[in-house]
Symmetry: none
Subunit: 341 residues, 6 copies
Amino acid sequence: MALVPTTTIPDGAVFTEVDMGADSAAPTVRATVVQASTIFYDTPATIDKAERLIADASALGSQLIVFPEAFIGGYPRGSTFGVTIGARSQYHAAAIDVPGPEVDRLAAIAGKYKVYLVMGVIEREGYTLYCTVLFFNSQGQYLGKHRKLMPTALERIIWGFGDGSTIPVFETSIGKIGALICWENRMPLARTAMYGKGIEIYCAPTADSRDIWQASMTHIALEGGCFVLSANQFCRRKDYPPPPEYTFAGTNEELSPDSIVCAGGSVIISPSGQVLAGPNYEGEALISADLDLGEIARAKFDFDVVGHYARPEVLSLMVRDHPTTPVSFTSASKEAGPQKP
Amino acid sequence: MALVPTTTIPDGAVFTEVDMGADSAAPTVRATVVQASTIFYDTPATIDKAERLIADASALGSQLIVFPEAFIGGYPRGSTFGVTIGARSQYHAAAIDVPGPEVDRLAAIAGKYKVYLVMGVIEREGYTLYCTVLFFNSQGQYLGKHRKLMPTALERIIWGFGDGSTIPVFETSIGKIGALICWENRMPLARTAMYGKGIEIYCAPTADSRDIWQASMTHIALEGGCFVLSANQFCRRKDYPPPPEYTFAGTNEELSPDSIVCAGGSVIISPSGQVLAGPNYEGEALISADLDLGEIARAKFDFDVVGHYARPEVLSLMVRDHPTTPVSFTSASKEAGPQKP
Amino acid sequence: MALVPTTTIPDGAVFTEVDMGADSAAPTVRATVVQASTIFYDTPATIDKAERLIADASALGSQLIVFPEAFIGGYPRGSTFGVTIGARSQYHAAAIDVPGPEVDRLAAIAGKYKVYLVMGVIEREGYTLYCTVLFFNSQGQYLGKHRKLMPTALERIIWGFGDGSTIPVFETSIGKIGALICWENRMPLARTAMYGKGIEIYCAPTADSRDIWQASMTHIALEGGCFVLSANQFCRRKDYPPPPEYTFAGTNEELSPDSIVCAGGSVIISPSGQVLAGPNYEGEALISADLDLGEIARAKFDFDVVGHYARPEVLSLMVRDHPTTPVSFTSASKEAGPQKP
Amino acid sequence: MALVPTTTIPDGAVFTEVDMGADSAAPTVRATVVQASTIFYDTPATIDKAERLIADASALGSQLIVFPEAFIGGYPRGSTFGVTIGARSQYHAAAIDVPGPEVDRLAAIAGKYKVYLVMGVIEREGYTLYCTVLFFNSQGQYLGKHRKLMPTALERIIWGFGDGSTIPVFETSIGKIGALICWENRMPLARTAMYGKGIEIYCAPTADSRDIWQASMTHIALEGGCFVLSANQFCRRKDYPPPPEYTFAGTNEELSPDSIVCAGGSVIISPSGQVLAGPNYEGEALISADLDLGEIARAKFDFDVVGHYARPEVLSLMVRDHPTTPVSFTSASKEAGPQKP
Amino acid sequence: MALVPTTTIPDGAVFTEVDMGADSAAPTVRATVVQASTIFYDTPATIDKAERLIADASALGSQLIVFPEAFIGGYPRGSTFGVTIGARSQYHAAAIDVPGPEVDRLAAIAGKYKVYLVMGVIEREGYTLYCTVLFFNSQGQYLGKHRKLMPTALERIIWGFGDGSTIPVFETSIGKIGALICWENRMPLARTAMYGKGIEIYCAPTADSRDIWQASMTHIALEGGCFVLSANQFCRRKDYPPPPEYTFAGTNEELSPDSIVCAGGSVIISPSGQVLAGPNYEGEALISADLDLGEIARAKFDFDVVGHYARPEVLSLMVRDHPTTPVSFTSASKEAGPQKP
Amino acid sequence: MALVPTTTIPDGAVFTEVDMGADSAAPTVRATVVQASTIFYDTPATIDKAERLIADASALGSQLIVFPEAFIGGYPRGSTFGVTIGARSQYHAAAIDVPGPEVDRLAAIAGKYKVYLVMGVIEREGYTLYCTVLFFNSQGQYLGKHRKLMPTALERIIWGFGDGSTIPVFETSIGKIGALICWENRMPLARTAMYGKGIEIYCAPTADSRDIWQASMTHIALEGGCFVLSANQFCRRKDYPPPPEYTFAGTNEELSPDSIVCAGGSVIISPSGQVLAGPNYEGEALISADLDLGEIARAKFDFDVVGHYARPEVLSLMVRDHPTTPVSFTSASKEAGPQKP
C-alpha cells in the first residue's frame, strides 16, 4: 500500500502530486480528508472553497473526499447565540435546504471531479436546523443524508435531533460508505447500526480536536473492522466574523486573529488500527491515504463485530429506522405538509 | 431394491452404466454420494469438477446427488491459517456469496442434469465465512441452505455459527430432504429438529473419515427411520496447494503428494440400518444406491421417534428457528445491509 | 318421540321409509348409527360404501350419521401385523391424511346429503397412525377431529396416542356433538372432559360388541345427561382379506367365511337411560332414533354432573388441551413440517 | 369361585348355610350385602335388627357386611318434612353422633361377629345432619367415615354436604374398602378419587332401586376394575310410621301397608362385569358372594383406570381432601370449638 | 487401562481371577455387565442367581454390576399373554413392589458384596406393571429407580409408561450413573436428559440382541462422552417354562430346549467409541472392563454435547420431571393410596 | 488525586509504601491492577502467588485488586493442545469449579486482606471450560462471576461460550464493579450492557499486550464515563512448562527461557480519558491509582451514554440475560445435575 503524504495547504498553493506507484492493487481507494475552515456566514464562498479543495484532492487522485462537520453553514464554536438575536438569523440563513440549490451545486461538483463526496452541512427544514452530512457519488448524484441523532451540550440549543431514518450506509463502487458526526461516534449503538449495515469506509466528520479523540478513532477502526476517516476543521479566530458580530463565549475575547480555535487532528486509520495519515494539528490540509480494502477481511478474520464474534441470541440491537414525525395523517402516503392545489 | 454398484472414479474416465433393472418400483429414488476432493483455492475449477461428477452420476440414473462438506471452498484440513496471512485471503476469496453467481451456476447444473443437488460450500457473508450446504431441485432452482450451527475445534476460528433459521427440510418430489454437517450429526437435539420436520433422506456431508463415524450413521438411520447419505472427501496431499503456500499443521510436512489426508468413508444406509453402498475408503468414487422409500414406514412402525414413540408431555424440544442478528432494523423486511443507490 | 325402526341392511337394498309422525317437536334430531363393516385394505371402496349408507340414512330423514371406530382404514381385528410385513404397509396405505383428499370427499358427501357426519378413521400423520374420529357439518365442512387418547392392548402397537388438543365438542345447529372411541368411554376423566364441554349428543364409535358394553352406554347417558350413540362394525371373516394375506391371531384359523368376528351391538340411548334403538347383534344395519333434546334438561334437573351436582371445590379435573409435540419451532404458527419450495 | 346363593330373609328365619367348597383360594373374601329396612324413628331397634342380620351373615361365613344408605336413622323416602315440624325433630333425634354410643355399639358388634362392617347412618353434628357411611374392622374398631358429598334433590333440604376429608379407602386384611353413597356413584370424579386410592371392594349403599341402577353398578365394576357391592333397603309402606305421623309426598297416600316403597335391587358385581349375586327385588335378603380378589389383576391387565390406561399428563384430577370449615382459628391446631377450661 | 477378560459362566463354576495390575490409576472403575437369563416365574430363585453372579463379579474386583432389562420378573419374550389368562397372573405375581422385600434383599446383597448394583426388574404398582431399573449403592442402600418411558410394540400391552420423575442420574463415589432401557436408548431426547444430568456411566439394560444394537451403543458413547454398559440376557428356550404353560408366539413352537431365544451381545464401550469388552453372543457371561474415568474429559474436549458444543439458544430440551398422576390429593405429601388404619 | 507509583515486582521483594497523602477525599478508591504470570499447571501455587500479590497491594492501601484473564488456570498462549493429549488433561485439572474449594480460598483471602478482588480464572463445569472472572467483596464473600461470551480464535477450541446470565455489575461500597474479558471489550453491545447496569469501575482483564489495546481502553473510559482497569499478565517463556511438555505453536521454539511471551501493558484510565497508571511493559508489577469517583459525574455531564446522550426510541439494545441450558427440568429450581443420594 502506497501511503499518500499529508500535505499542508499553503495559501492558495497547489498540492504536490503523489506517486500512485505501480503496486496499487485494484481494490484500493484513494481517500482524502479535508481539514479546513468554513467561511462563516458566507455559504456561496464556502462552497467555492470546497470546490477548490475538491479539485486539489482530485488532482491527487483522490476518489473519496470527506469534509468536516458543518463545513457548510459553519460550526457555531464558542457561540451562545443568546446575546445577539441577529446572529441566529444569520446562522439560519447560512444553512441550506435539502434538497435545494446548494445540494445541486455540490452534486455537480462531485460529478465534475468524479469523486465521492461526504460533506458536513447545516440543514434547514422549516424553522429547525440539523447538523447533517450529505453523500454524493462520482456521477454527480446526491445519494442521501445523515442527520446527527444527538447534538452535544450547547448544540442542542441550535440543532434538532435526527431520527433513525437517516443513518444510511451506501454501497458504492468504492465500498460501503456512511458517517456519524462528532460525538455520535462515542455512541456504541449508533456505531453498531453502522456495522450492521456493513460499513467499510466509516466517515467521522467532527469538531473535536482533543488528542483523546484519536483513541476513539483507533478503537472504532478495530471495533468495526473498517477504515475510519475523521475530518475536522482547522480554524483560527479570524475565520469567524470579528466581535461584536460574533463573540466567543467563555473567553475574555482576547483571542488574536491567529489564535487557533479548532486545531484539526484529522486522521485516517486502517482496520488493523494503523494510522495511515494524520493526525494533523498544524493547519488546513488535505490528509490522504490509499485504503486497501483487502485489509478488512484480514481484520475481520479474528474479530467480525456483526459476524462470527457477535452473540445475537444474547445481545441484539434494534434500530428503529422509520421516519418519526410529530404529526401524521392516515390519508397521506408521504410526509405531512400542506396540500398543494 | 436394485443396488447400484459403487464405482471408483478413474482419472477422467466415464462411469460404467448400471442396470436399472425392471423391478425399480415407483417410490424408489436413485441417489449418489460423491466422494471427491475440492480443487483447493480454485472455485471455478471445483465447480467444473462438480459438474463432471454430476454428469456422471446423472448418467447412472441418479436423481439425487450429495457432495461432501465444504466441497466448494475447501475443507481447511490441517491448516491453522495462523502463519500465512495470505492464505486467509485466498480462502476467503474461494468462498461464495449466497445468493451469487456460483449459486446460479450450480442451480443451472442441477437443472441441466435434472437432479436434486446437495452441495457443501463455504459461504461468505460480509466478512464472516460459514460452512453451508446448499439445496437445488431438478428444475434448476435454488431451494435454500443450511449453515453449520457449531463448528468443531479449529473450524471455530475460521467459520461463524449458524442460527436456527437455516435448518430446513425440503419437501420434494423425491422425498423430504435435509442435511446436518459433520459433527452436527452428533448433536441429538439438532437431529431431533430434523426428525421433527419429517426428514426422509438425511444427508450428512462430513469431513470425518474415522470408522466410528459409521456407527453414528447407522444409529441415525435407526433413530430417525430415514435414509442416511454421508458424503466425505477423499483427498491426497497433492489436492491441496504445496508448501509453503499451504502447510499441514501438526505434521513434519513430510507428506508425499500421494499421502491420503482424508480417507472418505462415504456411505448410504437404509432406515433399518442396512448398509446399501459403501463405505468406500479407496479413492474418489460415486457411491450409489436405490432408496426404497417404502422402507421408512416399515421402520417407523415399531419406532417413530417423533410419532408414537415420543413422550412429548415429558420430553419436548424447542427449536428457535427465527433468524438472530446482532442488529435489526424495523423498516427492513430482509437482512440488514447497505442501501444500493 | 317417534322411534325409527332399525332396519337390517339387505344386500344393496333400499331402506324402508319411516313415518316421522306429526308429533316430532322442533328440537328433535333424527340420528342414525351405522353398523357396517369396512372393506378392508380398500379405502376408496369403503368410502363408496359409506356414501351409500349415508344416502340411505339421509333418505330415512336422518340429520346425524355416526360410523364405527376405524370404519375407514379398518379395525385390525385379530391381527398382530407381526408376521407379515407387507400387511403393515397395506394398513398404512389404507389410512388417510387429515386434511387430505379423503377428508375432502367425506365433507362433500356430508354436504351432498345435508347431514352431520361422525366418521371413524385411521389417520396417518407421517409414519404414525392414529385412531381418529372426524366431524363434518351438513354444509359440507370438515369441523375437526378427535384422536384416541389411549389405545387398548394390541392397538398400542399399531396406533399412536392422541393428546389433549383433539377432544372437541362442536356446537352445531343440531346440538353439541363430540366423541370418545371404544374404551376411552371407560375413562371417567375423559368423559368428564366431554361433559365439561357441554356435550349433548355423545358419540361412542367402538369395536367392543360384548353385552357389558351396553351397561356402560346406559351409565354414560345417565351420568352425562346426554344422548349416547354407540356405533360398532358388524363383520364376518369374509370382510377381511383371506389368509395368508390376513390371519386372525390366537385362532386356529378355522373360521368359515361367514363366521362373525364382530357382532355389532350398536345402540342409541336417551339421557334418562332409555334404549331408543338397538342394540342390534344381527347384521349390518342402520340404527335410527329421534333424539328429543328437551330430555336433556329433564335429566339434568336432578343430576347435572358438571353443574349443580358437582363439588368443584373438592374434586376438579384439569384437562391439558394444548398440543404436545416432541419438537416445536418458534417461528412456526402451525405444526412442524418440511418447507415446500 | 364358589357363588354363594342369595337367600331371601324369611321372617326371623335362619339363613341356609352355603358350601364354601374346598377350592376357595386364600385371597377370596366372602361378602354380604344387606337388603333390609330401617325401623323408622327407632334407632335402638334398628341397631338390634342390624345385629341380627350381621349374626346371620356371619353364620354364612361372611367376612364383610354392607348395609344400605341411611339404614340407621332412616331414608326419608317420600317425606318433605315441610309440613310437620315435629317430624324434623324426630328425624333429628334418630340420627347419631360420630363418635358416640351407637358407634361404640356397632364397633362392638363387628368385633363380636368378627366381620368388617360398612353401615349407612344419619350422622348428626351440631344442628346439621349428614348422610354418612361408617367403617368398622373385624377387631371391633371404628375405622372412619364417609360423608355424602352431594345430596340429591330433596335430600339437600335435610342433609349437609360432606367435604373432601371424608372420602377414605381403608387398606384392610380383606382388601381395600371404601364407599360412595347413592348418586355419588354417578359422579365420575368422586369415583376416580376412589380409584386413585386403590379401591378393591367398592361399596355403594343406595336408595335407588330403578333397574338402570344396575347399568351403573356394572359400569363401575368395569371402569374401576373392582368388586361393586350395592346395598339398598327393601321397604314397604308399613316400615314407615303411619300417616299422618309420616306422609308420602306426591302420592294420594292410598298406599297399602304392603305397598313396596323401595324395591331393593342390591347386587354384587365382579371386576369383569359379571353379576355374582342379585339383583334382588323380592324382599329383605342377604345377598352374598365370594370375591376372588385375583380377578382384579386380570381385569386391570387390559384396563387400569389409574395405571397404564390413564393419561395423567392430559387429564388429571385434583382432590382437595383437607377439611373445610367455615371458621378457622390460627391458634387452633384442631377443629374449631369452644375452649374447654 | 487394564482390560478384564470376559469370562464365560460355566455351570456353577468359579470365575478366573483377573490381574488388577499395578497401573490401575485411582479414578478407574471396574465394571461388570451380567449376561444371564431370568429363572422365569421364580423370582426368589432369580434373586438367588443374581446373588451368585454378583458374588462372582465381586470376586473379580468389580465395583459396579449391571444386569439386563427385566432380569427380575423376566422379559416376556415371544409371549402374547393373550391365550393363557393364567400366565398373566403368574407374570404379575413374579413382579416386585418397589419398595418391598425383594428390594430390601437386593440392597442387602449390594451391601454384602460392596458393589454398586443396577438391576432390571418388573415393578408392580397396584395393578400396573412397569419395566424398571433399580439402583443400589455399595453401602447397601436403595438409591432409586428408572421406569421405562415408552414400551415397545407388544410390551405396551403388558407394561405401563413411566413419567419424567424417574429418569435419575446418581452421583456416586464411582461416578455419575443412570440408565435407559432397551429402545429408550434410541430416543434422542431421553438420552439428552441423561447428558443434561451429567451421566458418566451410562447403563443400557436391553433385550435387543441384533448386531445393529452395537452401532447405537458406540454412537451413544461418542455422543454423550460417557462409558456405555449394555447388558442383555442370554436365554435358551429352556430358560422359559415349557409349553403349553408358556408358548412363543409367531413360531411353530418347534424350538428345541437349547434354541437360543436371546443371543446377548452385552458390551462395554469407552467415551472414545472403543469397545472395551464384548459383545458376547456365546452364552451367559460376565463382561468386565476397567473404566478410566479420565477418558471422559479427553472425549469432551472436542465434543461436549451439553457444554461447549451445545447451542442452547437455538435448541433446548424441556424435561418435565415432576410426577404425573391421574389423581392427586392436596393433603398427601406422598403418593395417593389407601389409609392404613 | 494522589497517584500511586507503579512498582516493579522484584523477585519476592516487598513493595515500597506509598504516600496516601492528606487530600484523598472520601469517595476515592485505591485500586491495583496486578500484572503477573500464572504458575502454569500449578493452581495451588498460583493461588499462593495471588495471595502474596494481594498482601502486597493491600499493604499499599489498595481496596480493589484486579487480576489478569485466566490468572488461575493459565492462558493457553501459543498452545494448540492438539498434539499432546496429556496437556489437555493437565489444563482441565488446573481449572477450578465455581463454587468450589479454590473459590472458598479466594474468598477467604479477600476477607483476610479486606479487599475487593476481581480474579480471572479458568472455570470448569462438567467437561467444558470457561474463561471466567470471579468477584469477591472485602468481607470475604464470593459475589458472582462473569463468563466470557465469545472466545477469540483458538480459544474457541478450549473454552465454551458464556450466556447472558453472567454479565453482572455489582453495587459495592466502593462503587459499581463489573468486567469484560479481553476482546469482549471490543464488543460494543456487551459494553453497552455494562453501561446499562451503571458500571463505574470497569475491569478489563486481558491477554492482549499490543499497544493499540491502549486506544480501546481510553475509548471505553470516555464512552462509558467510567474508570477502566485493564490487567494483563507479564509472562516469559519460562513461566510455562518447558518443551515438550508445553510447546508454542507457530514458533521454531527457539524461545529462550527469558523470552517475553506476554508483555503486559496493564493500565488504569479515568473517565475523562486520562491515564492514571501504566501502561507497564517492563515486567511483573502492581499498577495502582486512586480513583476519584466524583470524576464520573463530571464526565457524564456532557456524555452519558445510557442517559441524556442515548436515543432509545431509535437505538435499543436487548440483553437476554436468562440462563440458556441445553436441557432444563421443570422440577428443578437450580441447574440440572445428578441426584446426590
